[in-house]
Subunit: 300 residues, 2 copies
Amino acid sequence: MLALTILGNNSAIPAFGRNPTAQVLQLQEEYFLIDCGEGTQLQMTKYKIRWSKINHIFISHLHGDHYFGLIGLLTSMSLLNREHDLHIYGPSPLEHIIDFQLRVADTKLSYTLHFHAITFEGLIVDENKFTVHSFQVKHRIECWGFLFKQKKKPRSIDPVSVKNFDIPSSFYERLQKGEDYITKKGAVIANETLTIANSPIKSYAYCADTIFDESLAEKVQGVDLLYHETTYLKESADKAAARFHCTTEQAGNIALKAGAKKLIIGHFSSRYELLDEFLSETMEVFENTELAMEGSCYRI
Amino acid sequence: MLALTILGNNSAIPAFGRNPTAQVLQLQEEYFLIDCGEGTQLQMTKYKIRWSKINHIFISHLHGDHYFGLIGLLTSMSLLNREHDLHIYGPSPLEHIIDFQLRVADTKLSYTLHFHAITFEGLIVDENKFTVHSFQVKHRIECWGFLFKQKKKPRSIDPVSVKNFDIPSSFYERLQKGEDYITKKGAVIANETLTIANSPIKSYAYCADTIFDESLAEKVQGVDLLYHETTYLKESADKAAARFHCTTEQAGNIALKAGAKKLIIGHFSSRYELLDEFLSETMEVFENTELAMEGSCYRI
C-alpha cells in the first residue's frame, strides 16, 4: 500500500487558508514526512497523522516554506517523550540550524536524532522493505528530489499446489527465493507452478521546487505516483523560469515523458485563490492528474 | 489608547486549538509584537492585524513556543515587499538564528532589519510617544520581561479660559509646558486655570515565563495592565517551581503586590483542556483578572 497525504500545498506565503509544503507518505507500515513548512505539527494533528509513526523526515531545500515547521515538530516530539530514533535527511546547513536552536534553548531531546546530510544523487536509505534515492533538482538554491520505492517482495507459497505436488515444507524458503523443485525421480516442477507472484512494487517521486527540467523525467522514469510542482499557470512561464519554478503545462510534460501512472500537482502561488485552472491546464497534457489538496489522501 | 490582542495563549505544545505565545500591543498608533510562536503570521491574518503596522518585535526568550514563528513572519514580510525598517529586541543568539537562515536561503530582505540584543535591565526603546523597559525574569534560560509606557503628554490649552484671560497665542507653547501666565500688571494666572490635563499615561507589563518571583512586583509597580503567566493550577505549585513556571495563585499575588489595575493570565499547560479554574483560582486572589483568550482584545 502506498498512500500520500497532503498537509500543505501553497508556495511562499500562506494564503487562502492554504499552508506551506508538507506531505506524509505511507509505504506499507512506514511513514515518511516530506518537507515541513511552518504549522506542519498542527496540520498533522488536524489530519490525524500519528506523530510517533514518523521515523524518517526528508527536507528538499532550505527555503522557509519547506522547513520552518521542522524545529517545532522536533521539540514537540521531545516534549511528548518520544523514545525511538528519528532520521532527518536534508541539505547540510540544516544540521547547524537544528543544533543551534536546541542548544540556546538548553534542550536535550528525549530521543536520538540522526542527521544525514545529502551530498550525492543515489541511494540514501536502504531498509528491509523500501529504498529512498535522492536526485538533484534545479532551483535557486541546492534542492533535492526523492524517489521512494518498495522492495520486491518474495513470491508466496501456493498452498494448494504444494500439497498437490507433495513438496516438503523444508523447501518452502527456497521456493520463495524463486527455485524450481526437483523430485527424487528428477522431474522439474517450475517455481511458477508452486508460488504466487506478489503485487508489483510501488514507487513515489517527489520533485520539490524546480525549474522546467526534462532530465527529471529520466530520474523518475516509470514511477507510479509523481508529485511535481506547478507554482504558476501556463501563461506565466516566463515568471516561472525566472524564479526557478514550473507551470501546469511543464509539470504535465514531465509526467508524460516519465511515463508516470499518476500526477499530483501543488506548490501553488499565493497570487491564485482558485485552483481549477491548475487542474484543467495540466490535464490537457497529462490526464491522470489531481490537485494536491490539504487533508486529501491519494492511494495507489 | 492601549489595547492588547492575544494571538496565542498555550505553553510548549499546541493543544486544544490553542496556539503558542504571541501578543500584539497597540499604544496609540504604534503596534508591538510581543513573542512570536509558530503560526503567528497565520494568527495575525486570522485576527486582522495589519502586518505593516508592526515596527517593533520583542522576544522574551529562546524557547521555541515563544519565537519559532519569527523567521517565517520576517521572510513573509519580505515576500510582501515591506519597505520600512523593522526592529527586533531579544536575547543575543537570536541574531545568528535569523541571519543564518536567511543566508542559507540566499534571501536578502526587502527591508532593513535592526537587531537589538538585550543585555541589561532598563530603557531599551525611547521614542516620541512611548518607552520600553526590559527587566529580567527568572526562567530556565535567559528571559526578559517588557514594560511599555506611554509618555506624558503636554497639557492642552483651555480655549474658553485663554480667551477670557486674553492670553496671547504666542504664550500657548509655554502654557503647554506648565508655565503660569503673568500679566503686565504682575498678576499670576495659574497654569491649571488655563490648561486641561490630558488623560493619564497608560502602561503594560509582559512578564514572560517565570518562576514565582516577588521582586517582579516592584519592577512593574502600578502598571495599568499586567500579563503574568499561569502555566499551572495552584495544586501543581511544586511542578510549576521545578519547571520555572507559575500557578494561578502566584500570578494573582504578583498582581496584588504590584498594585496592577488589571491582570491577564495565559501560557496554559497543554495538560488542561478547560480554563475556567485558571480564572476562578486567580480571581480569588486578584479580582480584576481575565483569561488571555486568542483573538480577544483587552482595552484600557
